[in-house]
Structure formats: C-alpha cells, structure tokens
Symmetry: C2
Amino acid sequence: MSVKKKDNKFQEQFISFLQQKGFIWGPEPELYGGLAGFYTYAPLGKRLKNNVENRIRSVFQKNDMWEVECPTIMQKEVWQASGHLDNFTDPLVACSKCNASFRADKLIEEKYDDVVADAFSEKELLDFINDKKIKCPVCGSQFIQEIKQHNLMMKTTIGTKIEAYNRPETATTTYLPFIRYVDYFRKKIPFGVFQIGKAYRNEISPRQHVLRMREFTQAEGQMFIFKEQKNNFERYDLIKESKLPLWSHQLQDTSKEPKMISVSDAMKKGYLKNQAYAWSVNLAYTLFREIGIPEEYIRLRQHTPGELAFYADDAWDLEIKTNSFGWVECCGIHDRTDYDLTQHAKASGKKLEALDENNEKTVPNILEIAFGTDRPVFALLDITYNQAEDRTVLFVPYNLAPIQVAVLPLVKRDGLDTIAKELFNKLNGKFIAYYDEGGSVGRRYARMDEKGTPYIITTDTDTLTDNSVTIRDRNSTKQIRIQLEDVPDVLDNLFSSKKQFEDLGKIIE
Amino acid sequence: MSVKKKDNKFQEQFISFLQQKGFIWGPEPELYGGLAGFYTYAPLGKRLKNNVENRIRSVFQKNDMWEVECPTIMQKEVWQASGHLDNFTDPLVACSKCNASFRADKLIEEKYDDVVADAFSEKELLDFINDKKIKCPVCGSQFIQEIKQHNLMMKTTIGTKIEAYNRPETATTTYLPFIRYVDYFRKKIPFGVFQIGKAYRNEISPRQHVLRMREFTQAEGQMFIFKEQKNNFERYDLIKESKLPLWSHQLQDTSKEPKMISVSDAMKKGYLKNQAYAWSVNLAYTLFREIGIPEEYIRLRQHTPGELAFYADDAWDLEIKTNSFGWVECCGIHDRTDYDLTQHAKASGKKLEALDENNEKTVPNILEIAFGTDRPVFALLDITYNQAEDRTVLFVPYNLAPIQVAVLPLVKRDGLDTIAKELFNKLNGKFIAYYDEGGSVGRRYARMDEKGTPYIITTDTDTLTDNSVTIRDRNSTKQIRIQLEDVPDVLDNLFSSKKQFEDLGKIIE
C-alpha cells in the first residue's frame, strides 16, 4: 500500500462510510442535533476498538507493565498540583464582528501546513495572524487583538461543595497511588503501570471527527525509574537492534522524510538520550505496529526545543499518515523527569520517594508513553478502507477484524439455511460470527467485505450430498471447499497463523 | 461452599486484604486524603475486572447483543426528557444540630434489615424515622422534619455555556441512536445492544466500599422489541427448561428463601409475565453464573408493586450473598415499556418508530438487563477469599484469575533462575505470567495463593538433569512433574478444560 496524500474528497466519503456501515456515529446525540466532540462507537467500530485496546493491553503486559483503573474525577487540589488548573489552556482569538472564538494555534496550522504553532507565545500568535492577514473563517472580519486563555478542564461538584474536575489525562491519576505501587512491586524500581480510560477536554472547537474530541479514550504507559538507571537499563539489550523511522529535529530542517535507523545507532548519534527512553520510544513503535498500522504510515518526530510541554525534558511524537487528514500525531513519548512526583509530594505533604541502589531515599523519574485509542482506530480504518470500482473492502488486519467469520446459505431453501444456522450457532461464542441470509449471495459477500470480515463460509447444494462448504478469503476473494465439521479447526488454524489459506485445499476456479 | 452470614469482622479483614494485596485501593486519591466513593483498581483487581467484563461481553455477544460505546456526557435536554433531571433524586434528612445530611431510605434500611424503604413517600420516611426514634448517627440529635430531594447528577459545562451532565446510567445514552440501530440491523426487530462503561452518581454518602460509589462501571443490555413479540419470542424455547432461583413478591411474604423453578413453570404460575422478559431474566442469571458466582449465592427477587422505578412495568433484581454485606442487589431486569423512546421522540421532535409485522409504524418496547461490574467483582472476591489458619487463598475461578501462572526457581542459583526466567519469557504474552525469585519457596507459594494463581511452575535441581519441572495446582496444592517443553501445551489444555490436572501424571507424595 502506498501512502496517499491528504484528500478532502476521500475524507468525506470515508466518514460517511463510517456512519452508514455502523462504525462511528455522531456527533452525538444525533437525535438532539449533536454536541461537537462527542461520538458513539457503533457495533463494528466498538468491536474494532476493543480488539485494538486488548492488543495494547497484551503488549504492555508482555513488557511487564501492569494495568490500573483510577477515578476519572478528582478534586481541585490534584489539578492545582499537576499544573493543569493554571497551564492546561488553549489560546483563543475572537472575531471582532461575529464574536466567534478560535484556537489561535490551530487556526494558523490549518492554513499553513508547515508551521507548528503549539509553542508560539501570545505575541507570536497575534503577530503571525496579523502578518499573514488571517481573518475570521465564519464572517471574514478581523480578530480582536487579544489572546484569551481558555482552560480545558470540565468542572463539576462532588457532594454539595467539593470542586472537582473530569480528568484531562489519565497520567496524573496514574501517578497518585505511588506509595501503593512501591509496596505492590515490593520496592523494586523500575516498575511500569498503564491505564486505558476516558479523559475529557473542553475544546473550544473540536474537529477532525474522532481525532480531536471532548471525550476520548487514552492509553498511557508510565515507567517509574531512577535517573541513574536510565542508562543502565537491562531490557535495552533486547531492542537495541530494532529499527525506527526517526525524524530528529535536526533532520526536520533538511529532510521531509524520517530515516530508518537502529536504536543503537540513534543512541550513538545522540538522537535518543538514554537507554530507558530509547526503550520507551521503541515500545511505542511496537505498540502501533502490533495494532496493525503499516510501517510506511508511521514516523517518529522529535519535538523542537521550543515545542516541549511544560513538564517534559525531551519528547518524540509518533505520527500516522492518514488519507483523510495527512500526518496525525498519535502518541507522545515524554521524559517527565521527577516533576509530577515532586509536585504531588509538595501539595500532599507526603514523601514520594523510594530507596535507590545506594540505599538513599530518592524521587524516581517518570517516562511516559501517552496516546489514545480513538486516533489509532480511526487511522486503521482510514488506511485499510479501500473503495474500488468493483468492491469496497476494509482491509483491516485479520485478527483485529470486528467480525471474524460470516456464515451464509447460498439460497434460503432446501435446508441450506438450517445447516448454515446450525454452523453459525456452533461458531458463535468461540468466534465473532455473523449470519446473513438476506439478498443475493454477491450482495452479502459485498456487505461482509465492507465490514472487513476475513472469512465467509457458504453452504450450497453440494453441502447436502458431501457435507462440504466453501470458505472464502477476503483479501484474495478466493474460495476453497472444506468439510463442514472441520470449520472450527480451520478457523482456529487460520487465525493463529498455523496454516495459510492456500494450504487448505484446491482453489475453486 | 456454604453461604456465610454478613460479618463485620470478615468485612474489615477482607477489605484490608484487597488494599494490601493489590486488588482495590481507596477511597482515592489516598494521597490527598481520599474522596468518598472513588476507588482505584490496582493491578490484580483490574485484571480480574477485565476478565469479568470480557466474559460479560462474550455472553452478550453469543446472545446476539452488540456492544456500543456512547458518550458519558450529554446535554441537559437529554436528561430532561429521560426524567433524570426531575426524578433522579435521593431523599435527604439533615440533623437539626450538627447539620450532617443522610439518605433517609438508607438510614432506615441500615437499621432495619427487613425494611425496603426505596419506595417510601416523603411522609412515610419521616413517619418511620419519628416512630422508630432514629437519631443522627454522628451526634445523636433529632432530624429536621423535612425531606430534601438531592439530585444525583454531576453537572458540568461544555464549550462556554452548554449545560451538561456526566451520565447517571448508560441506558439513556444507549437508546438515543435508535434510528441508526434500525438501519444497522436492517429493520429487523427485535435487536439487542449493550454498553459497558462509566456512570456517575453524586451520592451524598457513598459507602460499602465499591458497592455504592460515585463513579462506577455499568454493563447494561437493552433489547428493542415490539410489544406483540414478547410472547412470540423464538429464543424462549432454548431456555424454557432452565431453572432459576425465583423469589416472587408473593413468596417473599411467606418464605425467606427463593425457589428453584424452571422458566416454563414460572411462566405458568405467572411469576414471569412473558417469554421475552423470562428470557432476559434467564440471561441475567446466566451472566452471573458465567462470571463465576456460585449458584447458592444468587437469588432473583421480584420488586413489590410499590417498589417499582418510575419507568418500569415489572422488575426483578438479581441479588448476591456476600460475606461482607449480606445480600446485595447486583442487577435489575426491567420492562421499560415504550417509556424512553416515547419521551425522547417528544423531546427531540423526531419519530422513533419501526415497521411491525402488520407494516405499521410502532414504537418498540425496551427490555433491560441493568447491572454494574464493580459489584460482581467485589462479590467474586468476597466469596472466593478464604483465610484459613494454614493458608490464605483466593479461590477465584481458574479462567478468571488475574495471574494465570507463576514461574519460580526453587533456589536462585545453579542456573535454576535462568531456566525459570526463560520459561517465564516464553509463557508471558500467551498467558498472564509472573516471575518470582524472592524469598523462600513456601513464602512464594503463599503469595501466589493470595493472588489466586491457579498454577505454579517450579524449576529445581532435577530440572538440570531431566528437563522436568513441577506444576502445582492451587486448589489441591498437589504437584506433578512435567517436561519443561510441554509447559505451554499443558497450560493450554488445563485452561481450555481439555485435560484435568490429575491426568498430567503421578502426584508427587
């Protein structure tokens, strides 16, 4: 598959596909006209999202990181200490005539593809807008010469008067049980935890479908590690020869393309500053490869020095090339240093330390792999959606497909439907199966292709005499006859990659 | 296992076990003193919760119900139409002296085990409190003679001025995409959907650990069905001979115990009013059996006529007997009639109808299986936790255990640790595995028993000569020697129940 360019016509057609075919609906509640930035995962989208999230869980777990589930609401004190109450703001400009408000940085970035305006000061934002004569997208008038900082947190009240907020990230809530972790992991540092759950940001103008929502699902991995351990990190050896598509901030000045380079070479060149951080960047890359994003659609972009978040020491973003919106930031790998634990120790009055190798009480650092699951799911759909003249197919990886197998009777008579229904009942539960007897078989194949279903089993008149059925492979559209009673084992073997489709028998011409 | 009585000493010891051993921490954030009604699932608790939720998913899916994920925040109009803004309130009484507020119904129920006060009117609540001379639990003074209705919803703001609320249930958000569902299911009614996700209730006095929280996880299944189809429900035939522990409201007057009775007999006696509702009650029971709650710990209790929720036509609760808190309501099966769709049609101005068998536009009814995942997880832990003199064991079902297998070297030398570590690396990813080399082997066995780990593999000096290891079974504590290279297959066979532990070889005496 080659990387296509950002494409507005594609975008429109693709998002309509998501709505019509039962992947993602919204903005929700559609019935009430919709609230910008809120979406519903429809049955197929939700199954895909679950599969992606379970794969993420399994990769984290395999890398000795343990999942926790922390509250999504916490009181003011927490967000004061974390810095979010003061700093988690977006710079807004308002139109002098129609009064509409816009994020100043996004306004610039959407007009100027090459500009990264995140890190602009208020003055730089205003200067840029004036220099380039950017006008209100609604009414075309001038903007008021003032940046207003809009806090992104959603406030609520607990009990009758406790000020609290829906969390703007999982990360902070993951850090707070630090003392419990130290005990749970029996004082062994480094240790890793992660959280997959909701976060909330009151964006002033949510857009780009599920890419910038007000409610979204984050998946954030956190490693607690002493500073001294970062360059003495045992697991580094396991990954040092892996290759990563790195686009360092130096390279960004001279090249439009990242370079495939081994982790150890990147360390030698100073692109990645220590072993544990390099390991984290590699894990992020592994996570996205494992959820089915093709290699050529991923790049790792280093933040420029001016672009760093207020808590970060170094940062790389993992970006995915989508057909709908071009390159999209999907994950950040941050060295948060001891910022968070120090802040929360100060605010809570409790020591957040552990014993290091010299038996000294020390505040660990935190290395973070921060991403969400909405963007990768969107990207996966965007990249694998293929509308050609003859057929529309979702080429989603076989073992992530929302529906694994469909069972169809060729025609709805002569008992073919009864046999198909029995087979469906046998498969369902063990596999995600789907039964469909409505309409021509060609139409039904087409419907399953759109859903990305890897295999279709069809009963036909031969089934009545020799107990065989056809199995059809989505990607090749080829069919092979197999025995009815072998279907569960055949599917098992195919999904576990113990067998290839072509090994099942003779392709039907 | 016999059903034990509610036990305060057990409760204390058990909740401390959950905290100490890494199951559930809180109230969170503990670091900031804790906010009542918010908890963190620690690594072991989270894994168990995931396993329970995935089992629920799979049972729903097998019963042709499809998962969706809807926003957890919706605007005011939605909650006005659903009735929550007006009716979703708790009756509070306040102390005349210390000003503390309490839920009047719970105040009564906690003092009088046999009284169900949910359905009491304001006058009945006050009369009961006065009759029984119930005083403020904090300072012992009299209550003010007034019931205040406290709305349970958590309010927030979207954008700069849109009034919105964290959802108090998943159900309403699940109903709103009705028009999309009709299209997705190709106009075939009945159809079923479900949602597993967060809901929020601003309880005035959250208590009983994770049983009554302010933020919790719901799992609610919804079947959309025409009224006429309820007694012509195809899938009823598949379950009519199943037996259920029914405690009808008539029986509640005469007996402390439910009766095991087949679904068809319950229909004949009029306990369950139609086939589709009976099927739903049976599915609820199946769900809880499938997540490992033993038969003798479950009863199905019918609501008394005065107890019905404002939207419900009939209702049964599934209750679980816990050692910590006695019988706990864990699930409600409700016939919500056409209440919700009619309300949202009125409020949105859109028709929420589908074509019935007579080709007439009709508003379907909704049958709901409403439960959460926190209570079953708590109940499962509570029921399977067993502290005896010689060992503390969590007898959680093998295939729901947070950690599936542990690998230990008998001693940390002679290469036993290297072999064990290699085996761990081979198993981890395929299974949830755990490596432990710290402390005496007895102590390490004990630690794995507390975590509920079904199998422990140990390398010892014999491993060096004949490549064999021991596998230990949690429940029996028996051990058998197997070959190192067979371990993955052996575990596969045990977890898929293809083999019994005793079939693996000779028990070591």
